[in-house]
């Protein structure tokens, strides 16, 4: 495995992938903003406060008493030249934190954002370590090699493996 990771093919492929991803991100990161885009964007970062549990930008339920007013407040704030953060803060101050469609990046709410990635990273490292542990010891490898040799030497076992291969597909089944 380590040989594979050190191979020139893997190394050059990895560099090409890095460059491609970087190019895509840089190219796509260049852009401008305008009022209508900000309205759509902010409308999807705020909730309708009538209790319908829908995003402000998507609330359309018949006779909603809140979304019309909120939308007007949003467009007025954008027209007044307020920044995104100022607008979100204003809405949160007026309607409470639940008007924000996602937790803010402040205080305890940071935990909401960090925890998933922390869990993912921990699980990823754990899985890699587990696989290395299961595959890493020379003893296990030696035993596996010996077992494979023995199996191949035994015609009955060879026939069994061949049968499994035939029955289950290309590499031993899905």
């Amino acid at each position: 495995m380590s040989g594979f990771l050190r191979s020139s093919w893997f190394s050059s492929s990895f560099k090409v992938l890095q460059a491609a991803v970087l190019a895509v991100v840089v190219c796509f990161s260049m852009g401008a903003t305008d009022a209508s885009a900000r309205f759509v964007d902010l409308g999807h970062r705020l909730m309708c406060t009538c209790g319908c549990s829908q995003l402000l930008g998507e609330c359309n339920h018949v006779g909603c008493p809140e979304s019309g007013r909120e939308r007007k407040e949003l467009s007025d704030a954008i027209a007044a030249g307020q920044s995104d953060q100022q607008i979100l803060d204003w809405f949160a101050a007026k309607y409470g934190a639940t008007v924000l469609a996602a937790p803010s990046g402040k205080g305890f709410n940071v935990v909401a954002w960090v925890a998933p990635f922390a869990v993912f990273a921990a699980a990823l490292v754990g899985t890699i370590l587990l696989v290395r542990r299961w595959s890493g010891t020379k003893l296990i490898k030696a035993q596996a090699a010996a077992a494979t040799e023995a199996a191949i030497a035994d015609p009955a076992e060879r026939e069994r493996l061949e049968r499994i291969r035939r029955e289950t597909g290309a590499d031993g089944g899905f």
Binding site: F28, D34, A37, R45, E58, N60, F117, A123, A170
Partner: protein, 679 residues
């Protein structure tokens, strides 16, 4: 009828208790070999028969409630609250699951039905089935106790006599609501069966992996029901809620998605146990988690712990579910600790780049996704506990956190089938991955050239980037599966001298599980392409005078008229819209707004025109009170039909995977000399 229903439920509870108690006693006697007045096998048999009779009893109760709805028996409070005389017949049937009491009765009935089938098939392995049946009886006792003492479906209405009921929630008066909840419940309840078998196998230290083979069909069928239930729910939300989307990361949706994720992980990881003897403990925990998540989902949405856009039935059953979940966890932990030595596996992996590792990473991603959904669903409660105030965890959170994980899953879905068991070589990787990698880039380039942009109104849109990447990854996954399939079919075609189609069919029949699984992967890739389309939605809203027009995408929408109609159930206003493309009229649409007479609740009825490229989705938002003219909202939703098509492919793939493969001898007879086909 109320008395009949209540009595049936009481009898069902008594039979379930009998089944649980005497089943447990019989198993204990069998295990210890103690002498008793009644032979243990006779005791176990009578417990099993009590379970079968219990199914009949709860069936009577379910029938009684449906009959009460059909006969407008408003003396029953539940029928009064959820039905009325003018309600169409199909929706009267659906009234069974439109409220808390009815939906729990449906749950209990489905659980009894699963248990009934299980008990009928007991000869497959009498002891294992006796254990599993007793565990199922334990679960039944809980649900029947809730139905008898906490949420009674047959409680009488004690007020003054009424002539008509309150009617069904307008949101539920839609054809899919007749099949969506039963499908979802079949999925929820069905996971009790593999859990019961897993716990049974652990309790009796069942040798070998036979219990996995026995439960494979149960698990797959359950997974299929849950998948269909989730997608039907998505389609219902799309067609009824009128906001143009199909998934809002609502707690009710999340509640169904979490067991689907762990159930999918279980379906994959049991293959490791079957083929390599690995992950025995892990699989126990996975199926336990899946079952617990079905209960947690019910607790979250039915007990009102989190607010939901479509939690139609809430009450104070939280304590019941909490206690039951603690009890289930305690029993599982006790049995696990007692018998964990039985679960020692043969943990050897030859390489980080192998099929075995890919299964581990697949599980890692699915469980991380499950954690993200659970975390997002529970964080408002945690926030209230820590900060004293709730926060909202909505779509923006999941889009940022869950979408990258979904893309990684899609990537793995393409990679995994290409990796061999044990280890691989660089040459093999090059050979297997070159076509999918090329497909990825071709799809990305085609998507961008087709007008899918990562800019939204001049601003960089990360959603657009994710969407383009998803289309590329889906194309790669699809190509990976297709190349494997075509390679195998090609070998059979050459050696058996068949055409490629016949050879392909033979290949599938020889290993339905492998190629059914591949087809499911293809369906998931199609679904991802459909989901990616949501990043490029266009919206227009306009007040339309008679013969006034509005434009969206390639379409020009003309208002040809607006009118009113009524029947016994509702009054409606609707617009007649002519949709033009260039100078040719293409089709007509009739978006509608209804007001249901009994409940006086308004409801939009969306008009949708689907093509393979996009859906034109039109909402009648009502009339402007000043001008009296209709306000029309039009949404152009790209690629939505790919989602429903993807579901069809997933269903087909699962059905193929459920079909037994040709036996080796039959396969050889049908296709002689095809040894190299699967090489």
């Amino acid at each position: 009828m109320a008395t009949f229903g209540s009595l049936s439920l009481l009898i069902a509870l008594a039979l379930a208790v009998y089944n649980l108690f005497f089943g447990a006693v019989a198993l204990r006697l069998m295990a210890t070999g103690q002498a008793s007045r009644v032979a243990p096998d006779r005791l176990a048999s009578s417990a099993r028969r009590a379970g079968i009779a219990g199914f009949l009893a709860i069936s009577c109760a379910a029938f009684a409630l449906v009959w009460a709805a059909f006969t407008n028996n408003f003396s029953i409070a539940y029928i009064l609250a959820h039905s009325n005389r003018a309600l169409p017949v199909a929706y009267k049937f659906a009234a069974l699951w439109s409220g808390q009491e009815g939906s729990l009765l449906l749950w209990g009935w489905l659980l009894a039905a699963f248990s009934f089938v299980l008990r009928l098939r007991h000869k497959t392995d009498v002891r294992l089935y006796a254990y599993a049946g007793t565990i199922m009886a334990g679960i039944q006792v809980f649900f029947l106790a809730v139905l008898n003492f906490a949420v009674r479906p047959f409680a009488l209405y004690l007020g003054p006599p009424v002539d008509d009921g309150n009617g069904l929630n307008p949101l539920l008066q839609y054809p899919e609501m007749v099949i969506h909840p039963p499908m979802l419940y079949l999925g929820y309840v069905g996971f009790a069966v593999p859990f019961a078998f897993a716990l049974a196998a652990l309790m009796m230290r069942y040798p070998g992996e036979k219990w996995i083979k026995i439960t494979r069909t149960w698990t797959l069928v359950t997974w299929l029901f849950l998948t269909c239930g989730i997608f039907l729910g998505m389609h219902w939300a799309y067609a009824v809620l009128g906001w143009g989307g199909y998934w809002g990361w609502d707690p009710v949706e999340n509640a169904s998605f979490m067991p689907w994720l762990t159930g999918t992980a279980f379906l994959h990881s049991v293959m490791m146990q079957e083929k390599k003897g690995m992950m025995k403990s892990w699989n126990m925990w996975l199926i336990f988690s899946t079952f617990m998540l079905t209960l947690l989902g019910t607790l979250l949405t039915r007990a009102g712990l989190v607010s939901s856009v479509h939690a139609f039935a809430q009450s104070s059953i939280g304590t019941w579910f909490t206690v039951f979940m603690i009890l289930v966890a305690a029993v599982f932990l006790f049995v696990y600790i007692l018998n964990r030595s039985h679960l020692k596996g043969e943990h050897t992996v030859d390489s980080l780049v192998s099929r075995e590792s890919s299964f581990l990473f697949n599980n890692l991603i699915l469980l991380t996704a499950c954690f993200v959904v659970l975390w997002g669903t529970l964080f408002p409660i945690l926030s209230e506990f820590v900060q004293g105030s709730k926060v909202t965890v909505g779509a923006p959170f999941y889009n940022r956190v869950a979408v990258p994980i979904g893309l990684f899953l899609l990537f793995l879905m393409g990679v995994c089938p290409l990796l061999p068991w044990r280890a691989t070589s660089i040459k093999s990787i090059k050979r297997n991955f070159i076509v999918p990698t090329a497909a990825f880039w071709v799809a990305v380039i085609v998507a961008v050239l087709s007008g899918l942009s990562v800019y939204s109104a001049g601003k960089f849109d990360v959603g657009g980037l994710y969407a383009v990447l998803a289309i590329g990854a889906a194309a790669a996954a699809f190509t990976a599966v297709a190349s494997e399939y075509v390679r195998g079919a090609g070998v059979i075609a050459r050696q058996a001298k068949k055409n490629l189609a016949a050879a392909g069919w033979m290949l599938i029949r020889r290993n339905t599980r492998r190629y059914g699984g591949f087809m499911v992967h293809t369906g998931v890739a199609l679904v991802f392409i459909g989901l990616a389309g949501s990043a490029f939605t266009k919206t227009a809203e306009q007040e339309l005078a008679l013969h006034g027009t509005m434009t969206i995408g390639p379409y020009r929408i003309e208002c040809a008229g607006f009118t009113q109609d009524s029947n016994d159930n509702y009054q409606s206003e609707y617009a007649q819209l002519n949709v033009w493309k260039g100078s040719q009229m293409q089709f007509q649409m009739f978006p509608e707004k209804r007001v249901y007479l009994v409940s006086q609740q308004p409801q939009t009825m969306v008009a949708i025109h689907s093509t393979i490229g996009w859906d034109l989705y039109v909402v009648y938002e009502g009339t402007n009170p000043d001008t009296g003219q209709p306000i029309i909202k039009a949404i152009l939703n790209p690629l939505v039909s790919w989602i429903w098509g993807g579901l069809g492919v997933m269903v087909l793939g699962t059905l193929i995977a459920l079909t037994p493969s040709l036996k080796p001898n039959a396969a050889r007879a049908a296709a002689p000399a095809t040894e190299g086909a699967n090489r």
